[in-house]
Symmetry: C2
Subunit: 340 residues, 2 copies
């Protein structure tokens, strides 16, 4: 792909638009360092990152749910689809031609770090990455779900590093009901761990989690009535849940699920400790993060605050399933004060 731009360079005068055809530089790496974890003391951790875009462009850090990772979108170095193709890429709200886009694999995602991991630890790890990459401050942090929680932590713990924050479907705390839901998921894993490989437990735990990510409204549209098959009642959604649970378990270490699930429950940020401008996005149908918690957060934040409440039949997963609405919010929040 880089040959195209080399040839072009000789023949035409460049305009900003033409630059879209040159693949933005990709940097993927990992490094080890000592990190003082909030609940587990000093630990040697390994952080994996991927950046796309010219490092001289405004830096935008992107973070998703506990199952998200550093590969946001297909790029010149890795054509595999990423987890946020709708928002990251040429012409998207977060565009490596205009932004230096950064992302990590969460601490704990490799299943090696088997201790309680606070969302604040993730923020500290991101600060270490910014040091390493010589990124003085982020033009924006765009986080969804767990990523929004970590963004709030970064803004609270390292205020000089975050110019503005977009926090989608994640707030300053874990709701006690949602925590109970996750605790039961972890128990499902533990129940399954008594079996041979424990994968069945992880599949089932993920299925229970999925019900929290989606809504009755969506299931109403997608799935019909139960029926009796071979003397057992079979529910149509089971087929979907089977597929989704198995796909997740195939790519996720059991320890990673347990420790990152726990990490959500440790979220605890004082809203008043966040001074950066924040765009909050809440979804009325979200069954894990009640809109009331987003209101409480919005009232407590110290900087300029915008709260956008969406209606979506995808509930908590709206950040993945409502690309147009999310893109519009990201563009407005990220580009607002950006130098031309």
């Amino acid at each position: 792909m880089s040959l195209v731009s080399t040839v072009s360079r000789r023949d035409v005068e460049w305009t900003a638009t033409d630059i879209l055809f040159a693949p933005p530089p990709v940097r993927r790496g990992e490094f080890e360092f000592d990190l003082a974890l909030r609940h587990a003391g000093m630990r040697r951790v390994r952080l994996r990152y991927e950046t796309v875009g010219d490092p001289r462009l405004p830096a935008v850090f992107v973070a998703g749910g506990i199952s998200a990772h550093r590969h946001l979108a297909a790029n010149a170095a890795d054509p595999v689809r990423g987890w946020w193709e709708a928002q990251v890429g040429a012409g998207r709200a977060i565009d490596p031609a205009r932004h230096h886009v950064l992302a990590i694999d969460w601490l704990g995602a490799d299943g090696v770090l088997d201790v309680p991991i606070d969302p604040g630890d993730q923020a500290d790890a991101i600060a270490a990455l910014l040091d390493r990459l010589d990124v003085a401050h982020l033009h924006a942090f765009a986080g969804a779900s767990y990523g929004a929680m970590v963004g709030l932590q970064l803004a609270a713990r390292h205020p000089a590093r975050v110019d503005r924050l977009v926090a989608i479907s994640g707030v300053h705390r874990a709701h006690p009901y949602s925590s109970a839901w996750r605790a039961l998921q972890r128990r499902v894993v533990q129940l399954g761990a008594l079996q041979c490989d424990g994968v069945d437990g992880l599949v089932l735990a993920r299925q229970v989690a999925l019900l929290g990510y989606r809504t009755p409204e969506e299931f109403e549209e997608r799935f019909g009535a139960a029926r009796v098959v071979d003397g057992r009642v079979h529910v149509p959604a089971e087929d979907y849940l089977d597929h989704a649970g198995q796909a997740y378990a195939a790519r996720t270490p059991i320890t990673a699920f347990l420790r990152l699930s726990e990490s959500i429950d440790l979220q605890d940020v004082a809203p008043s400790s966040v001074t950066a401008p924040v765009t909050l996005v809440a979804v009325e149908q979200d069954r894990l993060v009640p809109v009331a918690d987003a209101y409480a957060l919005a009232q407590g934040l110290r900087g300029e605050t915008r709260l956008r409440v969406l209606r979506s039949r995808y509930g908590h997963d709206a950040f993945l399933k409502e690309p147009e609405a999310i893109a519009a919010i990201l563009r407005e929040a990220i580009d607002a004060e950006q130098p031309a």
Copy 2:
């Protein structure tokens, strides 16, 4: 206790009020009969019932959730507390001094009948009980949760037997999202069944079910933040869930849970097949039975229909946890046209 009334009878002239002091007669029994099950063909079934009150009084059948049973309230024959003390008893909305009160243990509750059980099968069994007890018709059927589903079935399948129906937090169908939730609970049981006695799976399945019966609003009030204990994240609600799950598993056969959970998912009544007057009660916060389904049912019913929508932080369990509101509705619905 019956001696008290014998002595009294000789000494005073009775008034309606005085009759409250004589214990209403209790009849508890069981019988076997052949029943054509909708999904499993002709089966020999055993039905256990308890009735309280003079059989000449207007008959009121009472039915609750899948974990409810025939013992509604302490009575002269059995001083153990029942599952609906707040609504059944002297001076309560359903009063054995004024009503002939009937209840059953659900088909399948003993864990012996290990086949798919339709809610319509329960209605047919109730009709058989009415035959056996020589009850021509019920003055009222008061059902909550699964009991409301069965009440609708009885009104549809045996219209001559039901003069009026109160259906609380249960409608004509199972919602696909709630069905998925229950299907995952059954899988938790199956995962646990690979262990020695399988009880851990039942405990955990019940805990997952409980989250559907309650609400974030209640958990918000009751439970605080997670904390790290011995290197694991512990959520305060876990202690409550442990207690509740273990208490349930101690009294419930695994097969009973599986077959009655399935049975909810088989609910399928055409609203237009119900011609009796119906009082529907829906709860805004119910996470299993969306209010929208109660509206749809109300629109389809053929008889006089009243829909009462409650707000309750107890969600689906409001029928157990909001005694005053439920009592007022029961009194109005059951006593409305009752002869003095």
